[in-house]
């Protein structure tokens, strides 16, 4: 075939398979020799590859999000998350104890009744939070997606 003869449909199909890495190994050497001789064929293979790169670059897959999800679902990430929650809970308990000590100590300038109001409000907040969590756990069996773990 002459170097500038228009490509047949069979040539175009082979160019696509070559660009996709789907040409049988036995045909690759011969086809690459043709690419070296025929600029139109070489241009077609290059165009097919560019189209594939375009589609890959503009895919709905959000690479950053996928990488984040993969990191978060690893065992190490789960263990670290658990450690974080435990440390946070321990910190809240210590902080509450310290606050109680400071507010009710003889050196405190906050009136005692105000200290108790503050603590009761905080306990109320924790109680409401606990109720919300319990309600979620109690109704979990009604969640249509409960069997799916993402």
């Amino acid at each position: 075939m002459s170097a500038l003869q228009p490509l047949s449909e069979a040539d175009l199909m082979q160019a696509m398979r070559h660009a996709d890495g789907e040409l049988p190994a036995s045909e690759v050497a011969e086809f690459e020799a043709r690419i070296a001789r025929e600029p139109l064929l070489a241009a077609e293979v290059a165009a097919q590859r560019r189209l594939a790169v375009m589609a890959r670059n503009w895919s709905p897959r959000d690479a950053a999000l996928e990488a984040w999800e993969a990191r978060e679902s690893s065992t190490l990430a789960r263990v670290l998350r658990l450690v974080g929650i435990v440390v946070l809970c321990a910190g809240v308990v210590v902080l509450l104890g310290f606050m109680h000590f400071v507010l009710t100590s003889e050196y405190s300038r906050v009136p005692l009744w105000m200290a108790y109001v503050f603590e009761v409000a905080l306990v109320g907040f924790v109680y409401l939070l606990w109720r919300a969590v319990r309600a979620r756990l109690a109704t979990r069996h009604l969640d249509p997606y409960r069997d799916l773990e993402r």
Partner: protein, 203 residues
């Protein structure tokens, strides 16, 4: 533009599905977490909305879990997953009257899976993370002009990066038909591309 290197073949999901069939929820959870991004990607290309894609993928996984006893290993996991998801996508598009049957569709004579559909609303927006990319917008607008069948095979090949053998298995068609369908879908996509992107391909 970066060099194009085709992706390696995808993982075998059958062991996880077998375990799920035996009632192992963790195994199904792991399977679902691997299928979910693929499903979302495919459904996004088919229905054009992130929210719908996410809903449809979740619905598909839920149906798989409920029907896990009916799964047959010879059928493969991905083709089964894809078949359910594709039908969900088409059902949604039909319920919203966003597609019409290409050519003469006679429901009494044709298997619905063989029907090709034209989109009524060809305007297709790029995914959110590409919203500010003008060239991505042009690419997605061109993709929006194609039929469901063309979009399906292009999404599976270019977004999920499946090999021809995987495409054949997934679409339940011979590899020769995959090549022909992919070839024509790509040609139509290239014809639908605006001049600036078409010129980029020729550079």
């Amino acid at each position: 533009m970066a060099e194009y290197i085709p992706s390696p073949p995808t993982t075998d999901f059958a062991p996880l599905m077998r375990a799920a069939q035996g009632g192992d929820r963790d195994a199904f959870g792991r399977l679902a977490s691997q299928l979910e991004p693929r499903g979302r990607t495919f459904a996004r290309a088919m229905v054009g909305s992130e929210e719908d894609a996410m809903e449809l993928t979740q619905e598909c996984l839920l149906r798989m879990w409920k029907a896990r006893a009916d799964w047959v290993e010879a059928r493969g996991v991905l083709p089964w997953f894809h078949g359910i998801l594709r039908n969900l996508c088409i059902s949604l598009l039909r319920s919203k009257e966003r597609v019409r049957a290409k050519d003469a569709f006679r429901p009494d004579q044709l298997d619905e899976e063989d029907v090709d559909w034209d989109y009524v609303d060809p305007e297709l927006q790029p995914p959110e993370h590409l919203a500010s990319d003008e060239r991505a917008r042009l690419f997605w607008a061109a993709l929006g002009k194609l039929s469901t069948r063309d979009r399906e095979i292009l999404a599976l090949r270019h977004f999920e990066e499946l090999a021809y053998a995987e495409l054949a298995q997934r679409l339940r068609i011979p590899e020769g038909t995959v090549m022909s369908r992919l070839f024509h879908a790509r040609r139509r996509l290239r014809e639908a591309l605006p001049r600036e992107l078409a010129e980029e391909l020729r550079r």
